[in-house]
């Protein structure tokens, strides 16, 4: 029993380091770092390069990796990305860190290459020493992990509680504005926090590599498990995060004593433990009304923050509900759809097949347009619903011999209740919690369903034929495009309908919407249902395009990339979804075919960097390009907008400047600069 506990403490220690780091960076910066795994991988890969490939010793490799490379990485990322994010919306913050998690590992691999052996050594010398503890054995790697956690806790708590540096960090947590008014530079403190965070990420990565492997996937698993501890800590209690992480690690290992991990049940229960922990704590907090959005900074920070930074808000203002038939966005849509319509005839079979898959993914991306763009809900499980649609429709075809298109539509209808229930369960949660829950839900379904037989079938899944009338790539591309257009028109009409207005109202302010008599529950259920249906239809089309369900293609990590590509293009634009879907599939192949096989990851890096760009341009590439073109057109034609002013987001403080007229009270004439106004008291009155 003790050996299971000791082994569990090792795993729990790594969870605890990760969870502790996530909590500290979240409270100090307001950013939940989804790129933690990518940072852990990058530092661990650098350590492996020094230790194994360059032949350095353990101590110099660790010192340089953890105290030179990692802090430099953290500070660089703060300088180019994180400092722009503090007052952005949850969606932009998440997407920027998703972008980083997408771009960073391939960037590192571009320089250092993928390691040939993922079983990397840790901080203990090889061969591993073994120690006896109360009759049980632990190896040197486990001992290094325990020591790692103790050092982190002692040094971390000591720094935070008893030093001026810690005082400044805690002050920054309370209010960035007040910290700066106290003469302390928040930038320098944040720089230090991100340097420390990268060091902790690196330590977790190095400690994890010997047991879980030096790969992005193993680091992502670590991060997902740490989420549960972070949620349990309500995102801000460091002791609770560490304690829950340790308990989770021990529980995971102790269960192996009682349940055979190779058994059917054991294989299911072990990966589900973090999700069960998260679910229990979330239910507890939600019932007590303590799982709402956490507000970064103090009242002064919010007072000086300008509104904006949410793609859905920005697009709503600039795109709005323009009902003109020949408005620029409709014209752009017709042009883009027209170009995609012409493409199959001009491409060979291989490329038109890729195009068809791209359009199928664009259908699934429309679900994000609905749930995130219209509903303002940060759901990270749309790819899971797409996978559900694919698996279920394939089962309907395989077992019942249904016509594929009918099977896809019926399967999508069956998946809708899952989305609606998830929507209802998360309705009282803040945006960040919703994102974490949906991501973890996706991971759980992937493990419990998609990776189980008969659905997995060695990765190839179950066959999913195309309809008889569209077996060729060209015909299938046209069918997918037709479905895309129908769903896009449906979304536009929903947006313009009363229900769409209710969605907008809820997105801007739930409390405000309630005062208007709008049912938030009804509205969110509607959005959840529509989005889930769209995602499932998209999943069915992806499976038809591939000829098989390919369950691995519906991994939640892939869903993050989908969303990153979409928000880079524009979260509320249907056309952006089409462009994103097509580019997501075709760009890597273009690079692989016409540039170099080694550079196949470049588009993924670009997608990630594109999502990073959200920090500066939240409206997305499509809307930004559209605005630039319209500005150019106005410049050329010499026309101005109706008021010649930049649109002002609703609710912006002081949106109306002084409006002067000849009938204004003469008392209101501004005093001339630097001298007393020549107004006698009571002159006018």
């Amino acid at each position: 029993m003790l050996s299971y506990v000791l082994a569990g403490l090792g795993l729990g220690s790594i969870y605890a380091i990760a969870a502790g780091s996530l909590v500290i960076t979240y409270v100090a910066s307001g950013i939940f770092n989804l790129a933690f795994a990518a940072m852990a991988y990058s530092v661990a890969r650098f350590y492996y390069w020094l230790l194994v490939e360059e032949g350095w010793g353990i101590v110099p490799s660790a010192l340089v990796s953890l105290f030179v490379f990692a802090p430099a990485l953290g500070m660089f990322l703060y300088a180019v990305l994180f400092r722009h994010l503090r007052l952005r919306s949850t969606l932009v913050k998440l997407m920027a860190t998703v972008g980083l998690s997408v771009a960073l590992p391939p960037l590192v691999q571009l320089v250092l290459e993928q390691p040939t052996n993922t079983q990397a050594p840790g901080l203990a010398p090889r061969p591993l020493d073994v120690f006896k503890v109360f009759g049980s054995t632990i190896n040197a790697d486990q001992l290094a992990t325990y020591i790692g956690l103790v050092v982190v806790l002692v040094v971390g708590v000591g720094l935070l509680r008893f030093t001026n540096v810690g005082l400044k960090v805690r002050a920054l947590v309370d209010s960035e504005a007040l910290t700066s008014l106290s003469g302390t530079s928040p930038g320098r403190v944040s720089l230090g926090v991100w340097a420390a965070s990268a060091t902790l990420a690196g330590l977790a990565g190095i400690l994890l590599a010997p047991t879980q492997g030096l790969s992005v996937q193993s680091m992502t698993f670590l991060m997902s498990a740490a989420f549960a501890a972070v949620v349990a800590a309500k995102l801000r209690s460091l002791p609770l995060a560490v304690a829950v992480a340790l308990v989770m690690g021990v529980t995971t290992n102790v269960l192996e004593k009682f349940i055979d991990p190779s058994s059917e049940f054991g294989a299911v229960i072990k990966p589900a433990i973090p999700f069960i922990f998260m679910l229990l704590f979330l239910l507890f907090y939600a019932l007590r009304g303590q799982a709402g959005d956490l507000v970064a900074g103090g009242a002064l920070d919010r007072a000086i923050a300008t509104q904006g930074g949410d793609p859905s808000v920005v697009s709503a203002v600039t795109g709005g509900s323009n009902r003109r038939i020949l408005n620029p966005s409709v014209l752009a849509g017709v042009v883009i759809v027209g170009i995609v319509f012409l493409m199959p005839g001009m491409l060979d079979k291989f490329w038109s097949g890729l195009l068809a898959t791209g359009i199928a993914i664009a259908i699934a991306l429309l679900s994000y347009t609905l749930v995130t763009g219209e509903g303002g809900m940060v759901w990270l499980s749309q790819i899971t619903f797409a996978g559900g649609g694919a698996v279920l429709s394939a089962e309907l075809v395989r077992n019942w011999g249904w016509e594929p298109l009918v099977a896809v539509l019926v399967a999508a209808v069956f998946i809708v209740p899952v989305g609606v229930i998830l929507g209802l369960l998360t309705i009282r949660l803040g945006n960040l919690y919703v994102a974490l829950v949906t991501l973890t839900f996706g991971s759980l379904i992937t493990t419990l369903v998609f990776r189980r037989d008969p659905y997995y079938n060695f990765g190839s899944g179950q066959p999913m034929p195309r309809p008889e009338y569209s077996t060729t790539n060209d015909d299938f591309a046209y069918l997918a495009l037709a479905v895309f257009v129908i769903l896009a028109i449906l979304i536009v009409n929903v947006r313009r309908s009363t229900a769409g207005l209710a969605m907008s109202a809820v997105r801007f302010s739930e409390n405000g919407a309630k005062t208007l008599g709008i049912s938030v529950v009804q509205t969110k259920v509607l959005v959840s249902g529509l989005a889930t249906f769209t995602a499932a239809v998209g999943g069915g089309f992806i499976a038809m395009s591939n000829g098989s369900t390919l369950p691995d293609s519906f991994d939640p990590a892939g869903g993050l990339v989908w969303l990153a590509v979409l928000v880079t293009m524009g979260a509320r634009s249907n056309i952006a979804a089409l462009i994103a879907g097509v580019m997501f599939i075709m760009m890597p192949q273009v690079f692989q075919t016409y540039v170099d096989h080694d550079y196949a990851d470049i588009p993924i890096i670009l997608f990630g960097l594109g999502a990073l760009g959200l920090a500066l341009h939240p409206e997305g590439v499509v809307a930004q390009t559209g605005n630039n073109i319209m500005s150019l057109v106005r410049k050329i034609t010499g026309r101005r907008g109706s008021d010649g002013e930049t649109p002002v987001p609703p609710g912006t403080p002081g949106a109306s400047g002084p409006v002067r007229s000849e009938t204004d009270d003469p008392l209101l004439t501004p005093a001339t600069r630097g001298e007393a106004a020549t107004i006698t008291a009571g002159g006018q009155a």
Binding site: S182, I304, T646, P658
Partner: protein
């Protein structure tokens, strides 16, 4: 008033010329100009939304200006960070409770001393002498203090560091009359110590009684500026309405 090359007139500590501020697309201040001599007090009056707090935030560097110039102590501080402006000797006590709620009273005071290299212990003792209640509650979280005690803590943070100029933004807001007296007494001590004060106040009459100069802001512009004792009741009523001018 003559202006030298550094933008300051003779004896001028803070000088602002044509200051303009935007929050995103919305402009909040239009061509605001003020002049605060050394060891003087300026009252900034105006109704809600007039731009008083925005002016304070722009002067302390919290919000960037989109036009105009700010000179403080002979230096152009228009583009300076709040940290650098604070280190130059300008302390901004913001609207609301300008304390760190998650830090103890003692830690709040220590944060105020981060720019000070020596004499920290003496400064702390000075703060506790001025406001003995803070000494009794030194280990209590600032967020759990009463509103008046939080304002005392905020004032102590300014008084203990001997700045050149203090901007006090609505310090008496929501306080009981006795505590309002404490606030004005504390600001009076600052003036006695040679510290210039820019006071943003809701109690217009008391503010005018305290200050040498006054300006009235309306919809982001200075609509009246002059000696505080020249601002009569009728003028205040015309600009601010009866309730505010009380």
């Amino acid at each position: 008033m003559t202006t030298n090359e550094s933008g300051t007139g003779s004896g001028s500590l803070l000088r602002v010329e044509n200051l303009a501020v935007r929050y995103g697309a919305a402009q909040s201040l239009f061509d605001v100009s003020i002049d605060v001599p050394v060891n003087s007090a300026l009252a900034v009056l105006g109704s809600n939304g007039a731009g008083k707090s925005t002016l304070a935030r722009a002067l302390s560097g919290l919000v960037p200006s989109c036009g105009g110039k700010i000179w403080f102590d002979g230096k152009d501080v228009t583009k300076w960070s709040p940290t650098k402006i604070r280190r130059a000797g300008l302390v901004h006590l913001p609207e609301g409770r300008g304390v760190f709620p998650g830090l103890t009273v003692l830690e709040n005071l220590r944060m105020a001393l981060t720019t000070q290299r020596s004499g920290k212990e003496e400064s702390l003792e000075h703060a506790f002498e001025l406001f003995p209640v803070l000494g009794q509650r030194r280990k209590q979280l600032a967020g759990t203090l009463s509103g008046g005690e939080q304002q005392m803590l905020s004032l102590a943070r300014a008084l203990m560091v001997s700045p050149k100029l203090v901007i006090a933004d609505e310090m008496s807001l929501g306080l009981a009359p006795k505590l309002v007296d404490v606030v004005f007494d504390s600001l009076g001590k600052m003036r006695d110590a040679g510290i210039a004060v820019v006071m943003i106040e809701q109690f217009a009459s008391r503010a005018l009684g305290f200050a040498d100069q006054a300006i009235i802001l309306q919809r982001g512009s200075v609509t009246w500026a002059g000696r505080a004792d020249e601002a009569g009741e009728e003028l205040l009523h015309a600009y601010l309405g009866g309730a505010t001018a009380a």
